[in-house]
C-alpha cells in the first residue's frame, strides 16, 4: 500500500464516518439539491442551532462540505457539498464491485475446472 493510497483510505474512512449519522446523511441529501444556509438546515430538521452546528462541523472537518460567508452579513454562512469525497466514495464502490466480480468469475472458472477434471470424457 503506497502512502498515497493510505491517504485515500483515510479520507474514505473520514467520509464514511461522517455519513454514519442519519441526520448528516439527510443534510448531504439536501445539499445535493443546492447550497443551504445553516439556519435553513436547522429549520429543515427541527434541530437546535447548536445541534446543527455540531453536525456541520463534523461534515466540514471531514471535508464533505465547505462553508462560505456572505459578504454583506458575516453572520450568515452558506454550506455546499465538496465533490471530491463523493467521487472518491463512488470510485471505491466501483472498485469493490469489480473486486468481487473478478473473484466470482475466478470461482466460476474453478468450479468449471473441477467439473472438467471429474468428467474427462466430456470436457466443457
Amino acid at each position: 500500500m503506497t502512502s498515497r493510497a493510505g491517504g485515500a483510505a483515510r479520507q474514505l474512512d473520514r467520509t464514511l464516518a461522517a455519513l454514519a449519522d442519519p441526520t448528516r446523511r439527510r443534510v448531504v441529501e439536501l445539499l445535493r439539491e443546492r447550497p443551504h444556509r445553516a439556519g435553513e438546515l436547522a429549520a429543515a430538521f427541527d434541530a437546535s442551532a447548536p445541534a446543527m452546528s455540531r453536525h456541520l462541523r463534523v461534515l466540514r472537518t471531514r471535508g464533505l462540505v465547505e462553508e462560505e460567508r456572505v459578504d454583506d452579513d458575516a453572520r450568515v454562512r452558506i454550506y455546499r457539498l465538496r465533490r471530491e469525497p463523493f467521487d472518491a466514495l463512488q470510485l471505491w464502490l466501483r472498485e469493490l464491485e469489480s473486486f468481487w466480480s473478478d473473484q466470482l468469475e475466478s470461482f466460476g472458472a474453478h468450479v468449471a475446472g473441477r467439473r472438467a477434471a471429474a468428467k474427462p470424457e466430456r470436457p466443457r
Binding site: L16, R94, E97, F99, F107, H110, A112, R114
Partner: protein, 165 residues
Amino acid sequence: MSTTDCVRVTTVVGSDPATAFDLFTREVDAWWRRGPRFRQGLGRPSVMRFEGAEGGRLVEAYTDAAGGAFEVGRVLAWKPGDRLIFQWRGNNFEPGLVTEVEVRFEPAERGTRVTLEHRGWDRVPLEHASRHGYGASNAFTSMIGLWWGDLLTSLRAHAGRGAPR
C-alpha cells in the same frame, strides 16, 4: 438494519449448490485471486482459508519465513449448500470498522446461482452514530441507488466473460 447499503454481484456456476458451497469454502485459496489487489500482505506469499465453520474465521495466512496471518473476519453463518456470511476487514480499516459479506447459493437451471453481497459501511461505529433517535434514513440508500445504475451497467459489461452463465 438496512441491507441495501451494499455491493451485490452474481454469477451462475456449473455445479449443484452443495458442491459450489464446498468448493467456495474448502478450496477458497484455489480461486481467491492473487496479487496486491486481492490479497492484503503487500506481495507476501499467502494462502486463504476458512478455519472452522460458524464462529470460525477467514484468514490470509503467510507462507514465508515470517509467517503469521491476517484475519479477514469471523464466520457469522455457515449453512452448507445455502448460505455463508463472514466479516471482511481491510488491513487499512480504522479499528472497529467491520463490513460483512453474505454469499447465497441457489439452484439454477444450469447449476447454482451465486449471489454475493458486501455491505455494512453505513454502520461505521462512531461517537455520534447511535446517539440520535432518528429512524433509519433512506437518504444514503437513495444516493447509493443513483450509483447502482452505473454499477450494474459495468456488471453487465463484465458478464459473460469466463464464468458460465
